[in-house]
C-alpha cells in the first residue's frame, strides 16, 4: 500500500531537472573545469602549504572558541527569563544577514588601532591593539559564528521537553544531575554538528580573510585563489589551490554530515521553558556575566556602525550610487534565481518522494551541496569555462548573481521545502479530490500556503547577495563595483570614515530589501 501520488508531469521534470543540472554544473562542472587547468604535476609549493595550514588552523580555533562560548550562553538563554531576552534572541539572527565587510568595519571600530579599546588603552599609557592577521581573522569569525552556534545549541535546549524539567524538579534533581541526565546527551548530539558547520563557514569565508588577513603568514586558500587570479594572472596555480580548497570542503562537509543530527530550524526559540533548577546565586551570577559579555562583544560593533556611519552620509563619494544600483540589481536577480531554483527543486522532490524516496532524498542532499562549495572554486571554474567565449570581466555582475543564488539555495530550500511538504500534506489531497490541476492548482491551492516562506527566503537571499563580497572582487573590472566592493576599496585606501558611510547605506538597503520581500510574503492572501 503506497500513497498514490499525482503523476509526475513533464513540467516538473523539466523545471526541476534543469535546476538540478544547473546546480551540478555550478558545483561539479566547475571543479572539472578547474581540474583540467590545474598544474597538478608541479605539486604544492611552500606558500600553498602555508595557506592550507592557516585556513585549517584559523577555522579550528574560531570554531572552538565560538562553540565554547555558545554552550554556556545558550544555557543561560534557555533557563533565564528576563526583559529583553526575546530581543536578544532576535538580534542573534542579525549577523547572518549582516554583510561581512560591514562587520569587519564594526570590529575595527572596537578592536582596531584607533578603535574604542585602543583609545582606552592609550589613555592609560598602554600600547594600541593590532589585530590584523590571525587574531583579527579569528576575532571576526568568532563574532559571526557565536550567534549561529548559540542559536543551534539553544535549539537543542528547547527541544528537551519541558515535562522532563518538571519531573526533574519533582525528583529534586540538582543542576548537576540535570546536566548529566538531560543536557549532556543533548549536547553530545548537537555540538559536533554545530562545530563542523562553523568550521566549514570559517574555511570558506572570504571577505574577513581578505580585509583582516593578508601577508604570507595570514592568507587563507580563498584569498590565495583570489590573489593568484587577480594579481598573478596564474590560472593553473589558482586552479591547483581551488582543487585543494574543494578537497578540504568536501572532506569537512562529509564529516559534518556524519556527525550531525539534522538541524531543525523551527520557531519557538523566543519562549523560555519553565525551569526550576539553576537558582543558586553562583549559577545566576554566571549566566548574567556570560550574557552581558556576549551582548557587549556582539552589539558594540553593530552600534558603532550606526554611530560612525551617520556623519559621512552627507558627503558620500560619487561612486557610491552606481555601485548601489549594481548591488540592488545583483541582489534582485540572485534572489529571483534562488527562488526559481528552490521552487523547481522542491516540487520535483515532493513529487518524487511518493514513489522514489531514495532519489528524492539524494536530490534534497544535492540542494544543500553548495553549502560546502567554495564560491572561489566556483568562480575560478566559471572563469575557465567563460574565458574561451567571452570576457569574464564583462560578465562580472551576472556571474556574481548566479553564484550568489547558488550559495543561498541551501537556505532557501530549507525554508521552502518544509512549507511545500506541509501544504501538499494538508491540502494536496483536497486539491486532487476536487480535480484541481496544473497552474490553477498551484495558484489557488498551494501558493497561498507557501508564499510567506517564499517571501522570507527571497528576502534572505536578496540580503545575502547584497552584502556579498566574494566573487565580485575576482571578476569586477575597476570601473564596475558593488557596495561591498566599494567599501573594501575605500578601506584598502584607509578611507575608513567614508567606508563607514557606505556601510550604513549598504546595511539599510539590504535590510530594506529583506523587509520588502518578507512583508510581501506576509500580506493577507484572501480569495473572497
Amino acid at each position: 500500500m503506497a500513497n498514490r501520488t499525482k503523476p509526475l508531469r513533464a513540467f516538473h521534470i523539466l523545471t526541476g531537472g534543469s535546476a538540478l543540472l544547473l546546480l551540478l554544473l555550478i558545483t561539479f562542472g566547475t571543479v572539472l573545469a578547474v581540474w583540467s587547468r590545474a598544474s597538478v604535476q608541479t605539486g604544492m609549493g611552500a606558500s600553498d602549504w602555508a595557506a592550507l595550514r592557516f585556513t585549517v588552523w584559523q577555522g579550528f580555533v574560531s570554531a572552538t572558541i565560538s562553540v565554547l562560548v555558545a554552550i554556556p550562553a545558550a544555557r543561560a538563554l534557555a533557563r533565564r527569563r528576563f526583559p529583553g531576552r526575546q530581543i536578544m534572541v532576535t538580534l542573534l539572527g542579525a549577523p547572518f544577514i549582516l554583510p561581512s565587510i560591514v562587520a569587519v568595519l564594526g570590529i575595527l571600530a572596537v578592536w582596531g588601532r584607533s578603535g574604542y579599546i585602543s583609545e582606552i588603552l592609550a589613555g592609560f599609557g598602554g600600547s594600541r591593539l593590532d589585530i590584523y592577521g590571525f587574531t583579527g581573522v579569528v576575532l571576526a569569525h568568532v563574532f559571526f559564528n557565536i550567534p549561529l552556534a548559540i542559536r543551534l545549541i539553544l535549539q537543542g535546549w528547547v527541544s528537551i521537553p519541558s515535562e522532563h524539567f518538571r519531573l526533574a524538579a519533582q525528583l529534586n534533581m540538582s543542576s548537576h544531575d540535570i546536566h548529566r541526565q538531560l543536557e549532556r546527551p543533548m549536547l553530545r548530539a548537537i555540538v559536533p554538528g554545530a562545530f563542523m558547520l562553523v568550521f566549514l563557514l570559517c574555511i570558506t569565508s572570504f571577505a574577513v580573510a581578505l580585509a583582516l588577513g593578508g601577508g604570507p603568514k595570514a592568507t587563507t586558500l580563498e584569498v590565495a585563489i583570489y590573489q593568484a587570479l587577480r594579481f598573478d594572472f596564474d590560472l593553473s596555480k589558482a586552479a591547483l589551490l581551488a582543487l585543494i580548497q574543494f578537497g578540504l570542503c568536501a572532506g569537512v562537509a562529509t564529516v559534518s554530515i556524519l556527525v550531525s543530527s539534522p538541524a531543525k530550524f523551527s520557531v519557538g526559540l523566543d519562549r523560555a521553558p519553565l525551569r526550576w533548577d539553576g537558582r543558586e546565586w553562583w549559577n545566576r551570577l554566571f549566566d548574567r556575566v556570560i550574557l552581558i559579555a556576549v551582548a557587549l562583544f556582539l552589539f558594540t560593533p553593530l552600534i558603532s556602525i550606526l554611530v560612525k556611519g551617520v556623519p559621512p552620509l552627507l558627503r558620500l563619494p560619487a561612486q557610491v550610487w552606481p555601485a548601489a544600483s549594481n548591488s540592488v540589481i545583483v541582489a534582485l536577480g540572485s534572489s529571483v534565481l534562488a527562488i526559481v531554483l528552490a521552487l523547481s527543486l522542491s516540487f520535483l522532490i515532493v513529487r518524487l518522494s511518493g514513489r522514489r524516496r531514495r532519489t528524492s532524498q539524494a536530490m534534497e542532499a544535492l540542494g544543500f551541496l553548495t553549502l560546502a562549495a567554495s564560491p572561489f572554486v566556483i568562480g575560478t571554474g566559471l572563469f575557465i569555462l567563460i574565458n574561451p567565449f567571452a570576457d569574464p570581466f564583462a560578465l562580472a555582475l551576472p556571474v556574481t548573481a548566479l553564484i550568489n543564488a547558488a550559495m543561498s539555495l541551501p537556505f532557501a530550500l530549507r525554508i521552502i521545502l518544509p512549507a511545500l511538504v506541509r501544504a501538499e500534506g494538508h491540502y494536496g489531497r483536497l486539491a486532487d479530490s476536487i480535480g484541481m490541476r496544473g497552474f490553477s492548482r498551484f495558484q489557488l491551492a498551494i501558493w497561498p500556503r507557501i508564499k510567506r516562506q517564499v517571501g522570507f527566503a527571497a528576502g534572505l537571499s536578496a540580503a545575502l547577495s547584497m552584502g556579498d563580497l566574494g566573487v565580485i572582487a575576482l571578476f569586477a573590472p575597476p570601473d564596475i563595483s558593488t557596495l561591498p566592493l566599494t567599501m573594501y576599496r575605500l578601506m584598502a585606501a584607509y578611507q575608513l570614515e567614508a567606508a563607514g558611510g557606505v556601510a550604513l547605506v549598504l546595511v539599510s538597503l539590504s535590510l530594506f530589501l529583506f523587509w520588502l520581500f518578507d512583508r510581501g510574503g506576509r500580506l493577507e492572501h484572501h480569495i473572497r
Partner: protein, 236 residues
C-alpha cells in the same frame, strides 16, 4: 450502479486488510470497527488516495483501479482540511464546479443554491475561520452536492462535533443523499451513528472488511468480531 471490491488487499507494515464484496446503489452504508482497524484506509483506497497491493476496484463494470481521485465517481469528505483557509466560503464551494474558479453567472447561482441548501445562506463571503466546526463541514457538504458524484464518502468528518450537532449533520447528509439518490459510505467507530443513519453496515475488524449486511439484523445478532468490539460477552 455498484462498486465491486475484487479481492482487494491493503498492506502497511504488519497491518493487512482484505475486502471482497459488492456495494449496491442507493444504500447508506456504515464502515464500523475499532480505530486502527483499517476503515479510513479502505475508504482512501476506494477514493483513490492509496494504492492497493492487490485486487481491483470496479464501478459498474468499469475498472477504476488506476484512475486518479478526481476522475472517480466519488466525493470524499476528510476529517479535517476540507476547506482552503485562504478562500471564502463561496469560492471553496465553487471549486466543486470549476477547480480553476472561473464560473459563469449561472454557475454562481448554483453555488448560492447549494449554500442555502446546507443552511448557510448569508455566509458566502465569510472566510472559513469565521465559521464554527459544524458550519465548515456544511460548506464541504455543499461542495459535495455540486460535484454531484454518485458516491459520497465520509471519513468521520463530524467526529469533533457534539452529539446534538452530529445528529443534525447526519440528518442533513441523509436528506441530501436521499434526494439525489447518492450512495453513502461513512466511516464511524460509534455503533449509534451506524444505527442512526445506515441501512447497511460493513464490519471492518481483525484484518477483514466483511460484505455489507442489514444494520438492524447485524446488531440483533452480532457476529463474534463485533461482539468483541462492542464488549458483549458470549451468550449475554
Amino acid at each position: 450502479m455498484s462498486i465491486t471490491l475484487d479481492s482487494l488487499v491493503l498492506r502497511h507494515g504488519n497491518f493487512r486488510l482484505t475486502a471482497d464484496f459488492v456495494i449496491e446503489e442507493g444504500h447508506k452504508i456504515a464502515l464500523l470497527g475499532p480505530s486502527g482497524g483499517g476503515k479510513s484506509t479502505l475508504l482512501s483506497a476506494i477514493a483513490g488516495f492509496l494504492k492497493e497491493d492487490a485486487g481491483r476496484i470496479y464501478y459498474n463494470n468499469q475498472d477504476i483501479t488506476d484512475l486518479p481521485p478526481a476522475d472517480r465517481p466519488i466525493t470524499l469528505l476528510f476529517q479535517d482540511h476540507n476547506l482552503f483557509p485562504h478562500m471564502s466560503v463561496e469560492k471553496n464551494i465553487a471549486l466543486g464546479i470549476r477547480p480553476n474558479l472561473r464560473l459563469t453567472t449561472e454557475e454562481k447561482l448554483r453555488v448560492r443554491d447549494a449554500l442555502a441548501r446546507v443552511g448557510l445562506k448569508d455566509h458566502g463571503k465569510k472566510m472559513p475561520s469565521e465559521l464554527s466546526g459544524g458550519q465548515q463541514q456544511r460548506v464541504a457538504l455543499a461542495r459535495a452536492l455540486l460535484r454531484d458524484k454518485p458516491v459520497l464518502c465520509l471519513d468521520e468528518p463530524f467526529a469533533a462535533l457534539g452529539p446534538a450537532l452530529k445528529r443534525e449533520m447526519l440528518d442533513l447528509v441523509a436528506e441530501i443523499v436521499d434526494s439525489t439518490n447518492t450512495t453513502l459510505l461513512m466511516v464511524t467507530h460509534d455503533p449509534d451513528d451506524a444505527k442512526y443513519i445506515s441501512d447497511q453496515t460493513v464490519l471492518v475488524a481483525e484484518g477483514v472488511a466483511r460484505a455489507p449486511v442489514d444494520t438492524a439484523a447485524l446488531f440483533a445478532d452480532p457476529p463474534e468480531p463485533l461482539r468483541r468490539y462492542l464488549g458483549i460477552k458470549k451468550g449475554a
